[in-house]
Symmetry: C2
Subunit: 498 residues, 2 copies
């Protein structure tokens, strides 16, 4: 029983034994994850899990369960889950299971400390500044002036929220004490392909989603600078006060990069805060052959960047980076006396907890530090270039296939490749409403079959006037050309008679 483990008096041996048994379960899972012949998932419906599968009960007991039973529960938890590191898991922007990042996570869990003060996280707080400094450098900011933090376990949405929060405070410091009612009617801009978290943040921050103005995109999903200009002028005419533009470097569906330089010019002209949501695309900065796609990011006031996406770090690892120092702290600090005592024995500059919107915070960046140490800048670059190569390969193969149709017939800018599968029976229906109605149902059906078989996982969605299409995306280091070929055959096999 757990009571026999440490800190129990004679618990040392049993603890070692038990934790090693747990690790055996995990190592077995890892082996399966990378075995391309194993199923990605063993699908069951929610009600089946609720009812209990083969004795795997999710109910919480009044009396303790044995350690043996817990090991079985752990095995079952993994057994009925989804292997997100499987070479054929393409379902999310973040996929893959990095062994070094994993080791980092195990260590972080064991260290079990909190980032709010240097006092209880001396190595981690200092290490975080080093990781952030490297990120400023890569973006092209002078480190001494910049600031940032890793948004614990929450991802890019909260990083984007931080961007808006800090921008609003910079422009209107009275927001902190007086609230929105003291401000003019502020509005912000994001492209129609930008991430939905910008709207979510506006709702949370009391700005309101109506005050998020969507800027039109070109057909590849990039914000059109002239449209932004137009929207700004319109807003001003209506008596609204523009303050913030959220650009995107790597949109979720199309993988598009907004023209950052042009938008930076507009922001400068109108004195607007420029934010770059590079949650997905940020990693591309490490590739000397592709980083030009983010040119202009060095002019941004703030950047969201998720190493857990393109750079393959485990979930979650997302940073918000702010070009102007001290804003984060001024915006968020509350100086709780019981936590941030000024009369400490060390330089309290490293007590960074008051910069955050939360209080307690898990250590999230360490896995990135240890991955960076193990890969080096060049190791990341090589991996990222490989993802780009695979995307190009995938695009070329699709282009030659009869029953696949690309959403854009042009080489991918990023690792997203969007496409439809058209079963033979649809090929003879002319393009139009009738065909669209049928085509809309194809991707969901193929995906449902795929999940039931556990053979691969890929995302689909409708977008604008386009009915459901697949979005292939490369960020999984386990994926090879063979897996890509397999996916295409699998879609054909499952879809051809639909």
């Amino acid at each position: 029983f757990s009571l026999d483990l440490l800190p129990s008096k004679n618990g040392k041996e049993l603890t070692n034994y038990f934790l090693r048994q747990v690790v055996d379960v995990l190592l077995h899972y890892i082996k399966k994850t990378f075995d391309v012949k194993s199923k990605i998932l063993d699908f069951h419906h929610p009600h089946q899990l609720l009812e209990g599968l083969d004795g795997f009960s999710l109910e919480l007991p009044d009396h303790p369960e044995s350690l043996e039973q817990l090991l079985v529960d752990c095995t079952d938890t993994l057994k009925y889950g989804v292997k997100t590191g499987h070479p054929r898991f393409f379902n999310q922007l973040s996929s893959g299971l990095d062994m070094i990042g994993l080791a980092g996570e195990w260590l972080t869990a064991t260290a079990n400390t909190n980032m709010f003060t240097y006092e209880i996280a001396p190595v981690f707080t200092v290490m975080e500044t080093i990781v952030l400094k490297k990120m400023y450098e890569i973006i092209g900011w002078k480190e001494t002036e910049a600031d940032g933090l890793f948004s614990p376990a929450i991802g890019g949405s909260i990083s984007n929220l931080y961007g808006i929060l800090v921008a609003r405070y910079k422009q209107y410091p009275e927001i902190k004490t007086k609230g929105m009612t003291a401000l003019p009617h502020i509005v912000l801009f994001v492209s129609e392909q930008g991430h939905y978290s910008v709207k979510k943040a506006a709702a949370i921050l009391g700005i309101g989603t109506d005050n998020v103005i969507e800027v039109k995109c070109d057909e590849r999903g990039r914000m059109i600078p002239a449209e932004l200009e137009k929207n700004i002028a319109q807003a001003k005419r209506k008596g609204q006060t523009p303050f913030f533009v959220s650009t995107t470097a790597g949109t979720t569906v199309y993988g598009a990069f907004d023209p950052l330089c042009d938008i930076a010019d507009i922001c400068e002209k109108h004195k607007l805060w420029m934010h770059v949501d590079a949650a997905w695309g940020g990693g591309l900065l490490l590739s000397r052959s592709h980083s030009y796609k983010l040119r202009g990011i060095e002019r941004a006031n703030s950047v969201t960047w998720n190493p857990h996406k393109l750079m393959g770090a485990p979930l979650q690892c997302s940073a918000i980076l702010i070009q102007e120092k001290d804003l984060l702290e001024a915006c968020n600090q509350m100086r709780a006396g019981y936590l941030f005592q000024p009369d400490k024995l060390y330089n309290v500059e490293f007590d960074t907890g008051d910069k955050t919107i939360q209080c307690g915070q898990h250590i999230e960046f360490f896995l990135f530090w240890v991955m960076y140490s193990s890969s080096g800048t060049y190791g990341f670059e090589a991996q990222i270039n490989k993802h780009m190569e695979l995307a190009k390969y995938f695009y070329k193969v699709l282009k030659e296939r009869d029953n696949f149709k690309l959403v854009f017939d042009a080489e991918p800018e990023f690792t997203n490749v969007c496409f439809w599968y058209l079963p033979p029976r649809l090929k003879h229906i002319p393009k139009g409403f009738e065909r669209d109605q049928e085509l809309q149902k194809i991707a969901p059906k193929i995906k449902a079959l795929m999940i039931e078989e556990g053979s691969a996982m890929i995302s689909y969605q409708p977008c604008g006037d386009k009915v459901n299409f697949f979005r292939m995306v490369f960020s999984n280091p386990a994926t090879t050309q063979t897996d890509v070929d397999y996916l295409i055959e699998e879609i054909e096999r499952l879809g051809k008679d639909l």
Copy 2:
């Protein structure tokens, strides 16, 4: 090198070997953590860590480092950190290192998935509903009507923010689209001993800290209901619109419980949302002998509860629970087409990601599920009662000691015990400004010495008109009476000549 690990073709053996080596490092750390004779920390200043200690460099390389070097780095990261599970670590409300929770964390890291949809986290999404259901039950809510979520890795501050966010939406659904400018001048209430995160949330949400009204407490730190009534009436007279009262079950410094029943009556009368911040005190609900201190919590509209505090779960594990179903979703959902497709093969009710303020979310509750399974309700109860017993013991011992002075001379309501240490030379100075000036410096000095020696860690803070005092707190299952006796002697030893 990391490139030789999985998914590298022949990486299986090396991966097993490497991860087992990592686990050896961790097991060694765990052994040290529970060894009362080992130092809690090996203190160094930030600049020393930055410069590199004994070859431990925090800098990030361009070229890959060897796996051997990484193991050394991992060892060093732990070596210079703080053992928060050490039997004499009393510095934070969350302390201790639970072996089962730790195993849960390792598993979660290995599963490396995201909670936003059932599709990619089938077991976890269903399991979370079971854990939440258990929490509603314990609070005394009817499960079918309640709702909730674990705020990933961010702790009680964000849970409190959720409480205010949802309450505001319930009262003024137009907030989501129109923002604060569409609302009347809303104000909320929290006691002067309540957590600072309530003010922080007000700043973030665009309400403003000026609109957080602090209600006076009695000398034990409990909100005075009559004062709340007065503050509400005052606000109304000023034309402000009260909408929310944040009560506290277990304040951070004093461990006080607000009189929830009386406040519930007031909230009912004025139609205000009642929130209970039970981040620290929630666990007491599991103790049949102490749960009466939270009587009235079943009438709350929302509750924050952090199993990572009193219940000993690893960081972070914090839940926000809402009595009314569907509000969380209505308030936060944005229905991103690429994530929440309606045309799936399963019951999409379990795609809970749209209820949250973020998008991606780490699995945080699993460690709690597995701890609950291993302890059972009664196991938690026994542990919590033990903490309460130790607090009582500590109080009694201090009461009898000459140079220690209790902040309140009454049996502790919770596991917080606040006290001053008075070095002999101060005992003869009469109570007053002069003595206070000296006393203010004592706790920081003793703590600095303690940290340098690495012998124990305990928090101190000033509070109101009270100069720096120590706050002892029991939540570490490794702590025994011997450690408590030791702490008292250690404070005396370090402080008697100051």
